[in-house]
Amino acid sequence: MEMKGERRIPAPRQLVWERLNDPETLKGCIPGCESIEKISDTEFTAKVVARVGPVKASFSGKVTLSDLDPPSGYTISGEGTGGVAGFAKGSATVALEEDGAETVLRYGAQGQVGGKLAQIGSRLIDATARKMADEFFTRFVGAMSPESATGS
């Protein structure tokens, strides 16, 4: 499963970059995220409740940032186990480009699921992942809008 997307964010690149590295922002944007904790500058642990078709599971896992190129982008990778529901792992390469006062965010993501998730939900995975990615970036753009930015 692979996805690509692009979002225009009404905020300067440096700010977008900082927020992309901020656990609290990530927590608010990752759908179903219950907790996220920073282990180091490039490592977090996270707990996410996700539903794929008939399977709903709580995933505990690790989020790693790599290929860091501040403030132009990074690769964010996650790997989580959902107990008897199986596992999910994925990564996204995020590139930030300045466009005046705004920032263009481009991402390319890929993911894989296993166990019961793959067994029951294989034909639902793509749609679910796309929906989650959409929701993440919609929330992220929302969090970066001027009102929200000044309000925080």
């Binding site: 008897v84 894989q112 296993g114 793959a118 067994q119």
Partner: protein, 799 residues
Amino acid sequence: MADGSIGTPAIGASVRRREDYRFLTGQGTYTDDINRPGQVYAYILRSPHANARIGGIDTSAAASSPGVVAVFTGKDLEADGIGGLPCGWLINSKDGSPMAEPPHPVLVTDRVRHVGDHIAVVIAETLGQARDAAERIDIDYAVEPAVVDSVAALRPGAPLVWEQAPGNVCYDWHLGDSAAVETAIGKAARVVKLDLVNNRLVPNAMEPRAAIGEFNRATGEYTLYTTSQNPHVIRLLMGAFVLHIPEARLRVVAPDVGGGFGSKIYHYAEEAIVTWAAAKVRRPIKWTADRSESFMSDAHGRDHVTHVELALDADAKFLALKVSTLANMGAYLSTFSTCIPTYLYGTLLAGTYTTPAIYVETKAVFTNTVPVDAYRGAGRPEATFLLERIVDLAADELGIDPAELRRRNFIARDAFPYQTPVALQYDSGDYQTTLDMAMEAAGYAGFEARRREAAGRGKLRGIGIATYIEACGIAPSAVVGSLGARAGLFESAAVRVHPTGSVSILTGSHSHGQGHETTFAQLVSDHLGIPIDSIEIVHGDTAKIPYGMGTYGSRSLAVGGSAIIKAMDKVIAKGRKIAAHLLEAAEADIEFKDGEFTVAGTDRSKSLGEVALTAYVPHNFPHDELEPGLDETAFYDPKNFTFPSGAHIAEIEIDPDTGHLTVLNFTASDDFGRIVNPMIVAGQVHGGLAQGIGQALLEGCVYDTETGQLLTGSYNDYAMPRAADFPNFVLSTHVTLCTHNPLGVKGCGEAGAIGAPAAIANAIVDALKHLGVRHVEMPATPERLWRTIQEHQTRAAAD
């Protein structure tokens, strides 16, 4: 025809199934219906990965979770010296070396080898608690690349499933005369070649597998309730090879079982787990598979990749057949997996034909998938599919009608016993007659008019013939022993005549939908001349039945029924002696007929009931000569396989715009030998056809080739056939008697699944051959058919 609820229905009557009342009213007793006092529940933690090294398993959080009684891993079993699951058939390779036989642990310790592989068991007060606790088991996996298909597994550098099996090869077996085949091919007028796949199937019995283990501390006895087709075999395998429990202290009960199709023959890890753990926790333990677990833990079926060549002379007589097959074994060797693509496959490649030279080689391959074993037909559908496809292809290439090409090559009805070049000797058959019957019933002669009519509506219509032969009534013990079987394949029966003349039959056959309680009762009613209502059929409990090898390979009537006949004959022989004593006549003058022992030529007689009462109240009894009682046991070992055969014809129509296929007509003319209950036989054929047509059109098990994930793991993605997918089947039977069992019966359980796939595939190719289509793989889904049509139309347009 006799209704059968009363009286003594003859063999050949469609007696209504006595067992159906309890099944249809929800009063059957299946394993999951059984609950034992103090019972706890097991949840098996399974691998989400196809191939991963296990660095460590931390069960501490799970063990302290609410309701948890115990958590066990493979290390606990190892510590108790528990063995692996055994394989029941040794196959030797071409060079004489034995097959690679890697371990098959009950719970894995260091590596998982397929999605669904069992890692740990959590036992808790409720199933929910067990499942929740399993979530808290922490496993350190190092995921490695996986390989799921047999072709990829043989490529250099493919992930290795077992170190013990270099190149992932389990064995490289062959049968037949290679030199004779090459010579024949060299001088043939034509050689027809085809590559084909026999798609992997998931058995999908209606009742998922279940097991309850129980240990009685007071007596030291173990009891296993399990969804098995052969409880004695499980007792032997689990007791002797896995848990080291003597037979006398292990009782295995297989109560009502809701379908098996082969998948419930084998000894599964869960049976050993609950039995072993029940003694550990001193409480009965129940495990019941959910449907997802069934998909990834029941042994799968088929999964062959084959190249076939058929050589013909100028008169279109078959000269030679050459077959090369890759058989996917999965990650472990299931109980009878190794004999399926060899002795239940290669030996059937003569089919119904006189092909004088045959050579078959089968390479069995390990992959990171669920083990593959027998599934309805087991090897014989695979043999029939390739044979009937290549025959049809030859007919097309030669411009001969497929029925005519078959007629030229059939073994003649007066040629029996017929020795094939692949070990089997057929005892009887009449292939031309069953084909003629099927062609008549299918309106074969008028097909071209129907094809034209359909073409006028823009539809592509096709007709396909498949003839088949099976080797059933499995099997002569000495023969299979010489071929590597690690078991005998006889059957036992006890006939217990009670003091007032009612009868209990204890049979080693096991009914899991076949209607034995009716068919066997008819046999007994006919043979002993007593009402069917006074006959009880008991099966499925090692504490009750003398012994049993169980039900599979269409063996229950041919082997189990023959054992019942043998035991009844012993009862009659003893009864004759008792009657002679009572009637003060010579034993030689006593005739037994319709339940009466009569002094020949007189009206002086004693009924079976009177003789039985005398046997149990032996006041006036020949004590010097006989023991009291009327209770006889017999074991029957068949002299040969039985060879059911027949012809199936499918007529289909394809919508070229959508690829949608409709089965318009399906005709099956079968020779099952003597038929005891035509209604039950028809039911068996219907079920077999449903599964055979399901394989041809709908069913296919798919793994992700990169990750090894099971993609068709639910009914969302694995298409089971439904009633609306079928027309009304047109059935008929033709009888040639089996020559070597007392009933003359051959067996009917698998026929539908054997003939149907090839008949459907031939009909599809017949509908599409004007486009240049030579073959369509199964399942021929609308998408596959649509793509095939598009590709060939595009190619035709380009030419």
